[in-house]
């Protein structure tokens, strides 16, 4: 028998005689004991405490808590003697804008040096500017330059088009006009929408709003083309705010007139510009054929968007009879005066 074999045999005999017990060398050190048991107590207690903190017996805490925000009132009280509507006719947009805005108080009155200004054109569709379905980029460019001259520190242009944003901004000429005039373009992304609360709104008391470009903004100017529209008869400056909303806005058509009145409540702009350089007379609001479009040679500035829309409907589109329902709804809710003949107005031929 080798030594190894002998050792094993003896060892096994030894082991068989004595059941296994914990030998002195098999005890953990005090430090080890405290460390391990402490770690267990910490892990068990920590999990219990965490579970208690995260406990949600009704399941309500786990639902997303959507923060809501409200829009500021962007209006500026007009100076004494200012008109409500300024109507400029001609073909030089810079001069026409100056005149029209001059009539309602002058750009320097509305825009203070250092202001961050947001301009909202209508860029709803992927259409060439000539087709009149979107804001005229030359008019937008002239407006941006005017606001810049008034000392605005930053000018932003934003819209949430119906068709794909990049294409719409590019093919309407709005992107180029914005960049050439030195303004910043904001295109919508899912992350740029937040929940807007509109107190008193009938249908959009809470609705996702294209809020990112509105952060830190002091003044808001709407600049909308004037277009035929089957359901609401005409799309002008109040309907233009539709382009700031997200979510299921295809449901708006179930009650479009109350929606547009809600839009007038939602947005109290510094002033609006009704761009009647081109007028989409029929087949709106998309158009698509040059024969749908009439040269309008008119720009209107207004501190009352309802009056501007009423003027546009009767005078530019030259529609007879009742105004679109939404203008009356807005009037009834104290949001403006659709009786444009009774408001102060200045009309002039320039350039």
């Amino acid at each position: 028998m080798s030594d190894e074999q002998q050792f094993r045999t003896e060892r096994r005999k030894e082991n068989a005689a004595a059941p296994r017990e914990r030998l002195p060398g098999e005890w953990p050190t005090r430090r080890e004991f405290i460390k391990r048991v402490g770690a267990f107590a910490l892990a068990a207690g920590g999990t219990a405490a965490l579970w208690k903190a995260l406990r949600d017996p009704e399941g309500e805490r786990g639902k997303p808590q959507e923060p809501v925000f409200r829009l500021k009132n962007y209006r500026v009280a007009p100076p004494t003697g200012a008109k409500v509507l300024g109507v400029a006719r001609g073909s030089r947009y810079d001069l026409m804008l100056k005149m029209a805005i001059g009539a309602i108080g002058g750009i320097e009155h509305f825009i203070r040096p250092g202001d961050v200004v947001l301009i909202k054109p209508n860029v709803a569709f992927d259409r060439a500017p000539k087709l009149g379905a979107t804001t005229n980029p030359e008019v937008l460019g002239a407006l941006i330059r005017l606001v810049r001259e008034a000392g605005a520190s930053e000018i932003r242009v934003a819209d949430n088009p119906i068709e794909s944003p990049e294409n719409c901004f590019a093919k309407t000429g709005i992107a180029d006009a914005t960049h050439q005039a030195g303004a910043k373009l904001y295109m919508p992304t899912p992350a740029s929408f937040e929940m807007l609360e509109v107190p008193g709104a009938k249908l959009i008391a809470r609705w996702p709003f294209f809020y990112r470009p509105f952060r830190g903004v002091e003044k808001v100017i709407g600049i909308a083309p004037i277009k035929d529209h089957n359901l609401c008869h005409a799309s002008m400056t109040t309907k233009n705010w539709y382009g700031l909303l997200g979510g299921r806005r295809n449901q708006f058509h179930q009650d479009i007139h109350n929606i547009v009145a809600d839009l007038a409540l939602m947005m109290a702009p510094t002033f609006v510009v009704l761009d009647a350089s081109r007028v989409l007379l029929k087949n709106g609001p998309t158009g698509g054929d040059l024969s749908d479009v009439m040269e309008g040679h008119t720009l209107i500035a207004a501190t009352d968007q309802i009056a501007a829309d009423a003027f546009g409907f009767s005078e530019i589109l030259a529609r007879k009879g009742d105004l679109p329902q939404y203008l009356y709804h807005a009037r009834d809710r104290g949001l403006g005066n659709p009786d444009w003949r009774s408001v102060a107005i200045k009309e002039e031929q320039v350039g």
Partner: protein, 566 residues
């Protein structure tokens, strides 16, 4: 006394683990010591928990429900608790009970796998029943293999997906697999047996419905189940060792366990007999892999040298007073064996898995499947996918069989086997909220009938709608076939009814006069319960059918401008 190994007096084992008590050479052990040795207690425990699980499945039914905690196994499942906590940052209702598993695991290791888990029990039982291996082959097959790392990879991927908001643990969580398979496979198979054979023994577990339940997913769920159980013949406890994400999580927690199997290297002769019945393949013959050990105690039972014991805080490197007998001096591998580089790759895999599941149009608000109708009380879809573990308990309890595990077409991989309603098979019973009662994670939140119906303090919010019914005039008897009908209007359970009729007298083709009540929908009243579709006599392609649009759980899938959110 001899244990059969032929060595005289070398086989005594300590009390409690011993087949015979020590120091009683030649004297038989009393019966109780054999009966209550710990491996046997373990088998009792497994049988008890398997029976309990079976009982819970059985009583998950309206007339048997009483107050039993039928989803208990899911609620104590730490993978469910932890993964939903990561996805939702909350711990829903009874999920705090996962502490009852987390704390013992931190003390004792993965005992759950071999003492409580019904799926583990099933695997062990099947492996035992069909075992054809000789001892030497058992020892070989029970050695640790690197493929066992796979479960940690699966766990990390699932946890990352949960962090992104896509809960996929239910695909492989053993408790979810068990509930799902019993719900969509075994229970309806029993229904079928009762309806086609009748009598005992099937009648013992008589189904709740008169008709046997049917599921689109049975074949798929069943094949996965059978395949995984069958793998036991290739590798014992294949699922538990290789795939189980819950086992991986418990294995991770076991790293900190205060107790473990300890091998005395001055006694161990490296005979490897401890591997013969090792359930976890945790290398008890060498350095014990704490994260793989199921604490089944078979190794202690099998050790002829009394070298193994289950010890509180064993020392990794004891100060030996005698020369070791074993040639393998190591005693412990604490961490799960997942090399750092592999862990990194796993992380990348988890990040890539998210777009893989999330970019399915089926779960997007722009293209959700019209037939993916969620049960009432369900949270909005993104939150639903953070919570649903595909356990299908809601489907198990549903009295009308309307709830179905979603197919790949309806819900993509992300929503596979989540509950949707098929109104041809059943309908959502007006005064029933059972699915919301049994949901362990709050994907379907616990609602009262008041809330479901929009009465009492929920009157302002209105009833919960799960969808909207639409008419197909071309197939509707009064609209298209000069034939009176309006079963749909008759069964519409809301008041006032969501289905109205235009009543017209017409002269039929044969000259007889007939009054036709042509039905139409009042969408603001429809709750999408689908009883109209279920009862419509145009059986194969119903003339009225519910689709998911108009559900009130979120604005994303609403139909009307003046839509309600509940």
């Amino acid at each position: 006394m001899s244990c059969g190994c032929g060595k005289d007096g070398g086989c005594e084992k300590p009390v409690f683990f011993a087949k015979e008590p020590p120091g009683t050479n030649g004297v038989k052990a009393p019966w109780w010591m054999k009966a209550f040795r710990i491996t046997r207690v373990r088998v009792f425990s497994q049988a008890f928990f398997f029976g309990l699980f079976f009982f819970f499945i059985y009583v998950t039914w309206f007339s048997r429900l009483k107050g039993y905690p039928v989803s208990l196994f899911l609620e104590v499942d730490p993978l469910v608790g932890i993964a939903t906590a990561i996805a939702t940052h909350t711990v829903y209702r009874h999920l705090v009970w996962s502490l009852w598993l987390i704390i013992p695991t931190l003390l004792l290791g993965r005992w759950f796998c071999n003492w409580m888990c019904p799926y583990g029990t099933l695997h062990q039982f099947i492996g035992w029943l069909f075992n054809t291996r000789r001892n030497i082959d058992k020892i070989a097959i029970n050695r640790y293999r690197s493929i066992f790392q796979l479960k940690y990879i699966i766990l990390v991927v699932f946890i990352l997906l949960a962090a992104f908001g896509s809960l996929q643990i239910g695909l492989l969580d053993p408790i979810c697999i068990m509930y799902r398979t019993f719900t969509t496979g075994i229970a309806p198979a029993n229904d079928l047996a009762v309806s086609s054979i009748g009598g005992a023994p099937w009648q013992l577990f008589k189904p709740g419905t008169e008709e046997y339940r049917v599921f689109y997913a049975t074949w798929f769920v069943g094949l996965v189940f059978l395949g995984l159980v069958g793998m036991n013949l290739v590798i014992p406890r294949f699922f538990c060792r290789v795939l189980c994400p819950l086992g991986a999580l418990l294995g991770f927690l076991s790293r900190f366990a205060l107790w473990r199997i300890d091998r005395d290297v001055t006694r161990c002769t490296d005979c490897n007999l401890c591997l013969a019945h090792c359930e976890g393949a945790s290398d008890p013959q060498a350095a014990l892999r704490k994260s793989e050990c199921f604490v089944c105690f078979n190794c202690i039972d099998d050790c002829p040298e009394d070298a193994l014991s289950f010890r509180f805080l064993p020392v990794k490197k004891p100060v030996l007073t005698r020369q070791p007998l074993s040639k393998l001096p190591e005693t412990e591998v604490a961490w799960p064996a997942l090399p750092r580089r592999q862990l990194l790759l796993t992380g990348v895999l988890g990040v890539l898995a998210y777009p893989l599941v999330r970019l399915s149009a089926a779960v997007n608000p722009r293209a959700f499947d019209k037939k993916a109708i969620r049960p009432p009380g369900s949270v909005a879809e993104p939150e639903f996918l953070e919570r649903c573990i595909k356990c299908d308990q809601c489907i198990n309890v549903c009295p009308t069989n309307v709830l179905q595990p979603a197919t790949l077409m309806q819900a993509g991989l992300e929503g596979l086997w989540t509950p949707v309603m098929d109104m041809r098979i059943g309908f959502c019973q007006l005064n029933c909220t059972l699915c919301s009662e049994v949901c362990p994670t709050g994907a379907i939140q616990k609602i009262s009938t008041e809330k479901k119906l929009g009465v009492g303090r929920y009157a302002a919010a209105g009833p919960i709608s799960v969808g909207t019914a639409f008419f197909n005039h071309g197939r509707c008897l009064p609209w298209a076939m000069e034939t009176p009908c309006v079963v749909c209007e008759e069964v519409c359970p809301v008041s006032p009814k969501a289905i109205g009729t235009y009543d017209e007298q017409v002269k039929r083709w044969d000259g007889t006069m007939v009054i036709l009540n042509k039905p139409y929908m009042r969408p603001e009243l429809c709750i999408g319960c689908g009883i109209c579709e279920h009862e419509c006599p145009v059986a194969d392609d119903k003339a009225v059918y519910v689709t998911a649009v108009g559900e009130t759980r979120s604005k994303d899938r609403s139909l009307l401008l003046r839509s309600r959110q509940t």
